[in-house]
Symmetry: C2
Subunit: 341 residues, 2 copies
DNA sequence: CTGAAAGCGCTTACAG
DNA sequence: CTGAAAGCGCTTACAG
């Protein structure tokens, strides 16, 4: 027997027709149990696997989901946001559980990506992952919707977003962690991260922060907000901006853990102790958060649940079942950097 | 026009036969330039994409590579070794560069995985990634070789390994970093990590460590070696073993950065200062290494190069071109934890 | 340079 | 319960 075995080979050996082999191997109820066993034995012996290209072509669906990461390339070219990597893990597992394969691809925000995965029948649907400028990507998402592409996006759940989004409760997280810092007796809490509708996830965190301050009768000071994207480098630079301007602050709420870690580095270099001089909190609870020194207080996103919901929602969409955007609750993970322990 | 456009639809609109459309769109030289342009314009207008299942079925190759991660599940279920994630980034990019799609899958070492990706024509070849027990996986790899499956593995490049492996120079890395610690005046260097032929990558690092000690006329002390796998938790526990036994040491060479970071946590808890009391070095240079406190001295693996070589070697194999195992050089990334800065 | 024909390996009505 | 037939949408000899 040269090359791979086909269902026809098995049919010959089993003395049945090729369709019967197909039925038997997919567990069709209209096949005699003994016949099935005989066929299965032969299939195993020949190490037969159904040709996915052929069956996909016939059934017109691929049993595959494409995961698209959107990130502008980092200088180092191999850095990926660890938070998204946690998501990757849970998405992969959720796919496996549902019997779907996962195709992954990194797309640069700046290039004119088009999601041809579904058009070429390589995937039945798309999961979109990536912080990035929402206003920039808006029109592309709208085109996906127009084309009838099946997709779900991880991100801010807001009115006006094209398609379906799954996201965590960024507002609540920002609010809760700020309340926590206030409860530690910190009065001047800086916010490191973009705070505009270009980055609605960060913006929601910022709004939660501002809301908490107002609740406690504190002023929201514009000088205490410094733009930053989700990298250590950006967090480092944002903290340095505060330090160099000589702005007084006794706490930092960073819009992500990477920003927080970069900021802590800048604080240390400046001779400031965390949490004694400056309390620090992040957002995401990436695996590293518990192992930096001091360990980082942060807002935990449930990536396991998130991955499962993303996959389940996408599959609902694919199967023309009802599906809608959802917000996932967050919880605080309090550690040493905020002075909690 | 309902549903997706096919090459036949385009043929009708262009007034040519369907094969001509196929030829034109794939840039066949035997098609009139004007005809091609007309066809291409129509294809773009209809947002036509070649059906991958159909073309794969016909050509009998998938243009897809499967990346298999082997890791036993962590309790948290979404933790992945950050080093492999860097590799994932560079492998993805290398695939994209070569026009290949990437399918990813996590396989549990403990389960009886079989790599049916190639058998089912979902992928043309496999990349295997994962520290794990080599002796356990050996027989499965041998079966892959027997079946003629195309695969490359990231791991120890040693005689007797089935198939082709790409790996870094673990021995040299272990040697160099140990020489560095010795040069800092550290006499009692502990090694945290497995040191047996079940884990040849770690074992090579250990052998490099031992070789450096012997070169400098130091004794290799068995008590200073403690088993650990690549997690912070395991590193934390390994360091505690040393501390609790009261074994004297003034430096730690951890077989991976995660182990080093876990060990640093244990040292801090024990009131020991890094690097003043104990110098620490790791292996891998994961992105976090530069941002932990103190920043971690480590052995840098060139993941960008590694990913490229893995993909290129696999493609060579797929195309029946000569391919062989390769070792990639490493270099030291010296930071504060070893007392270098 | 172009078209008619065959076929990749399946799945699914349809007929018995 | 099983088989003969058709067809998913391409690509590639083959013929002109």
């Amino acid at each position: 027997m040269k090359g791979k075995a086909t269902s026809l080979d098995i049919a010959h050996l089993a003395g049945v027709s090729q369709p019967t082999v197909s039925r038997a191997l997919r567990g069709s109820p209209m096949v005699n149990e003994e016949t099935r066993k005989r066929i299965q034995a032969i299939a195993e012996q020949l190490n037969y696997k159904v040709d996915k290209n052929a069956s996909n072509l016939r059934t017109q669906h691929s049993g595959t989901i494409a995961l698209l990461f959107f990130e502008d390339p980092t200088p180092d070219d191999s850095q990926i946001n660890p938070f998204f990597l946690s998501m990757l893990g849970s998405i992969t597992r959720a796919c496996a559980l549902q019997g779907y394969d996962l195709l992954i691809s990194f797309q640069q925000l700046s290039t004119n990506w088009q999601a041809d995965y579904e058009d070429s029948n390589k995937a039945d649907g798309l999961i979109l992952l990536g912080y990035g400028d929402y206003l920039e990507s808006q029109s592309r998402l709208e085109r996906l919707v127009e084309q009838g592409t099946h997709f779900v996006r991880w991100g801010a759940v807001l009115p006006g977003q094209p398609g379906i989004s799954i996201g965590c409760d960024n507002f609540q997280g920002g609010h809760d962690i700020t309340m926590h810092l206030l409860a530690q007796g910190r009065g001047n809490i800086a916010f490191l991260g973009h705070a505009s509708n270009h980055y609605p996830e960060f913006f929601e965190r910022y709004r939660g922060y501002a809301h908490a301050l107002l609740t406690e009768d504190r002023r929201v000071q514009p000088l205490l907000q410094v733009d930053a994207v989700t990298t250590e480098q950006s967090g480092y630079e944002a903290a340095r901006v505060l330090l160099e301007k000589g702005i007084a602050f006794d706490a930092v709420f960073a819009a992500s853990d990477l920003i927080a870690i970069g900021a802590m580095k800048a604080l240390h270099e400046h001779g400031l102790r965390v949490p004694e001089d400056v309390a620090v909190a992040g957002f995401d609870d990436i695996p590293m958060a518990a192992f930096v020194n001091p360990s980082l207080s942060t807002v935990q996103q449930d990536t396991k649940l998130a991955g499962r919901i993303l996959v389940e929602t996408l599959l609902a969409l694919i199967n023309n079942e009802p599906a809608e955007s959802r917000t996932i609750p967050v919880k605080l993970a309090l550690r040493r950097s905020s002075g909690a322990l």
